[in-house]
Structure formats: structure tokens, C-alpha cells
């Protein structure tokens, strides 16, 4: 069954979109991730214009992060103070990201930048996760303890310190604001929540306790993705409500099964699997960047004033 998307201006199969939403939702429930970085490339492969894919994807991120944040709210595993500091950075990052997006679209380089940023992040994070999980699997087999992370002391030398009771931290607000800013910019350009960047940053850089990291990142993502979605609507008219709705429905259903499936799999193997998926998507996008395109020329409707 086909449905015509009013903003993307093309017909798509409802079942394909629902299945994609469900598949990404399944992985997102399984790995506890937003899934935006999986969905945006899939939408682009399907022929949705990259601008619309990124803009629309923010609605799916809002839906899945609201579910995640609510679950962590009931478990009281959100550091609201840290979340707000991250959010402050995220808001500025999102706004500047939207304008960067617009500028890149105007000079014709947005598709390239989206692809390059995706390839860079997917391959780096995928490789890091793969190495870490393989080491952990080996260590578990060999009976050795996993190596302890080293301490970052330069963070403690920065000014504007603030006390975060929930995270048991007394650190400068500069690193979390910067982390938030960076993730907000990525959210606007990539259509992702940015949890896959923020969570490692919170653990390794800010040294937050792991039990509050995921809830706090969901809390930040709800608002940053919401703002990004509204901004993409206002500035680029790039949010397709019909596409977003279908993705959300598929995602919500898929996530339920993903959560259950994850309970049956050991955490380290799960992480290795996610790393493999990230690397595969990164490779595919990277191949598209370097392989000779079938037609070197592309046509796009120009802005009437430029």
C-alpha cells in the first residue's frame, strides 16, 4: 500500500516504512539507543531527500527519548541539574546547527557533510566499541579484570565549578556545556539524538556514575530533539508529519520486542553486534562517497532569490 508523503513529495510503501521503523525500534530497544543514526541513512537509501530525512527523524528521536526518559524518571536515575547544563549547551548547539545546515544546503554541500559526518562517527565509534567489547569478551574468558580507565585531571582545573549532587560531582560547567553544544549541533545536522556521543563523553570525560548517564542523556535529548524538530520545520520546512508518524508507530512496536530480546543476550556480545552494525553502515556510506557516482551531475530546485 502506497502513501504520498506531503513534504517529501513522493509516494512510499506504508509497509516498508513501518518495517523500517520496527527494525530500528527493535535495535533501539535492544541496545538502549535512540536509533536516529540508523534511521537517517536508511531513509536516504530509500530516496527521501536528506533534508527531509534529517528533519523528520527528529520526531522519532523525540518519541523514543520520551519513552526512555520516563522509564528513567520512575527509577530516579536522572541528574536533572547536569541534564539542564547539558541542555543549555544543547539549545545553543541545535540553533547554530540549524543555521549551519541551512548554509550548507544553500552552497550545495549538505548531503556531503551529512555523509562525511556519519562515516566519521559510525566508523570511529563502531571501531572503539568493537575493540572494547572484544577485549571484554576475551577478558571474561581469560578471567582477567577489565582495565580501569585513567583519570582526567585537567577537567578539574577549569573555572565556574558547580556541585551536581545526583552525580556526586563538583566540576566546572564548561565541559558539560561544550558536550551539550556539540551534541546539539550533531542533532541538527544528522537528525540524531546524539546519545551515542553523549554517553561515552559523560562516562569518560565528565566521569559521571554510569547509573545516571543514560537517563540524563535521554532527558537532554527529549528537549534538544524537540527544539531541533521545531527549528527544522520553521527554517527548512523539512519535517514530514506523515513519514514521522509512520516511523514512530513502527519504532514504538519494534522497541518492545527489542527490549525483550536484549534480556536474553549477554551484554558484551550485544555491544559487539551493535559495533558491527555501526561499522557496516559506515562502510556503506563511505563507499558511496568514494565510488564514482552513476551521474556526476545532479539537479536541484534553486532558491528563487539566489
Amino acid at each position: 500500500m502506497q502513501i504520498y508523503l506531503p513534504i517529501a513529495e513522493l509516494p512510499v510503501s506504508i509497509l516498508t516504512i513501518l518495517a523500517m521503523g520496527a527494525a530500528v525500534g527493535f535495535l533501539s530497544g535492544m541496545f538502549g539507543i535512540g536509533g536516529g543514526f540508523l534511521m537517517t541513512p536508511l531513509l536516504i537509501f530509500l530516496g527521501i531527500p536528506p533534508t527531509v530525512a534529517v528533519g523528520t527523524q527528529t520526531t522519532q528521536v523525540v518519541a523514543s527519548s520520551v519513552t526512555g526518559a520516563l522509564a528513567h524518571f520512575t527509577r530516579k536515575s536522572i541528574d536533572f541539574k547536569m541534564g539542564s547544563v547539558l541542555l543549555a549547551g544543547g539549545v545553543i548547539g541545535s540553533i547554530s546547527g540549524i543555521y549551519l545546515f541551512k548554509l550548507l544546503a544553500a552552497i550545495g554541500q549538505i548531503d556531503l557533510v551529512i555523509s562525511v559526518v556519519y562515516v566519521a562517527f559510525l566508523s570511529v565509534i563502531g571501531a572503539m566499541m568493537m575493540v572494547e567489547s572484544v577485549q571484554a569478551i576475551r577478558a571474561a574468558r581469560g578471567g582477567r579484570a577489565t582495565p580501569r580507565r585513567k583519570h582526567h585531571s585537567w577537567i578539574h582545573g577549569l573555572p565556574f565549578k558547580m556541585r551536581f549532587r545526583r552525580s556526586k560531582l563538583y566540576i566546572s560547567v564548561i565541559p558539560p556545556v561544550l558536550v551539550g553544544y556539540f551534541v546539539g549541533t550533531l542533532s541538527a545536522i544528522m537528525g540524531v539524538g546524539g546519545g551515542f556521543i553523549m554517553i561515552p563523553a559523560m562516562i569518560y570525560l565528565l566521569r559521571m556514575p554510569t547509573n545516571v548517564v543514560i537517563g540524563t542523556s535521554f532527558f537532554q535529548i527529549v528537549f534538544v530533539a524537540g527544539l531541533t524538530g521545531v527549528m527544522h520545520s520553521v527554517e527548512n520546512q523539512a519535517v514530514d508529519i506523515v513519514l514521522g508518524f509512520l516511523l514512530v508507530i513502527g519504532g514504538v512496536i519494534g522497541a518492545q520486542y527489542g527490549v525483550r530480546a536484549a534480556e536474553k543476550m549477554p551484554a558484551e556480545q550485544l555491544r559487539a553486534l551493535l559495533a558491527a552494525i555501526l561499522l557496516l553502515i559506515g562502510l556503506r556510506l563511505g563507499y558511496d562517497l568514494v565510488s564514482t557516482p552513476p551521474d556526476l551531475y545532479s539537479v536541484i530546485e534553486a532558491e528563487p532569490h539566489s
Partner: protein
Amino acid sequence: MMLRAAAVIVALLIAALPARADQLVTDLSEHQIAIRSNFTGTEILLFGAVEAARPGSRALNRDIVVVVQGPSRPMTVRRKEQMAAIWVNHDSVTYPSVPGYYAIASTRPLEVTADAETLKALRIGIENIDPGTPTARAIDGTLQILPPDEERAFWKALIRNKRREGLYINVPGGVTFLGQTLFRATVDIPANVPVGLYTAKVYLLQNGEIIDTISSPLYIDKRGVERFLYRMAHEDSLLYGLIAVFVAAFAGWLASAVMSRR
């Protein structure tokens, strides 16, 4: 059914017309195409008749050419070049007025219908579209002047891309005569068609000379929910964005409410 009704209308129109030179009488099966949520493309039927000046005379070398053209907009063609192994959009050429849709159908291939100058002067044929004066830009946005053959390559690429998308169509033999006077042509309207005011022009040619031309409007627009959402996204984009985000947030809340009940 549609054809028979058309034939009756055409017959009535012929009867009402005074007979001088050969004249055209045409109409479209639809003057409005609505893009709704189930739109996956359609086709329109153009039909008509040639009202002969001297009834009974057998027409030789008579051709019908049908051109359906969509609204014109400025369009940019970009060419990728390999920079440090990566393919990057490099030079670009912007044309101020490019039809978003152009379909041409004729009784015989265009080359045998009329000579190249006539076709060029009348802008009949995909190769003869006039896109206005192009402006070429380098990767950094500065204006540059391209040699004519390079510029030609950009224009050819535009046509190639539009053909691939099914938006530029050329159907030699797409117009068929039913007997001596009646003719018909079907024109494909793909799903990715731009909205706006279209014109369907019919040319009657005799021995390569244009004898008569007739033009009818065709309006393609989004309707119903599609129209409502599209207009809202463009005119009330703040409200639209807020609704999109709140609906998503609500779905997320609903999911967690359902999950926690289990």
C-alpha cells in the same frame, strides 16, 4: 466511455465551427489533477479532432504534436568532482526558468514532422526548451564563465536527470489518429510531479508548417490532507513543528504507559 463522450463533444464542436483552414478542436480528460494521500501518478488523455477546410479531402503529411508543460522554476545543476578521493559537488550552473515537467507526443518522430528551425523557434521538443540565461558558479559560490560546450554538458545533464525521474517525456508516435479526423494521446503524470499550472498545447502541422495551435490549462495541486499539511508546513511552520513534536512526545509517553502496565 470517456472517449465516446469526447467524440460526441468534438462532433458538436465541429458542427458549430465555420469551415476555413484546417482547424483543431481538443480537450483534456481532466483539467484538474488532485494529489491526495493515495496519489502514485496518473495519466491524462488528450483528445481532439482536425476540422478539415475542404471536407472529404484526404490529408497527407498531417501531424499532430502535443506538448504538456509544467510550471517553470529556477534550477541548479551541480557537477561532482573527486577531491581527495571523495566526490564533492563542484561547479554549478543555475537556469532561471526550467519547466518542472515537459511531455511531448507526436504522430511521427519530431525530426520528420518539421525542420529543426521551426521546432526551435516554437520551442517544441525537449532539446528546444529555453531555460533563460544561465549563471555558472564555482565551488566557493563565485561567478565564473564556462565555455559553451561545458555549459551545454550541464544542460544535457539536466535533461538526462529529468528524463530519469520521468518528468521529461518524449513519445514519438504517442499521438494516434482514429480515422481521418479524430486523434488521441495519453500523457503520463508521474508521482513526483511538481504542483502548479500546466498547459497542454496541441500543434497541427501540414507539410512541416504549423497550421493551427490550441492550448488548454491543466491544474495539478495537492488536495485534502496533503494540501492541508503542506500549506501548514509552509505557512504556519511554527505551529506545524510544535504539533509534529508533541504528537511524537505523546506517542513516546503512550508507549511507556502501555509498557509499565504490563
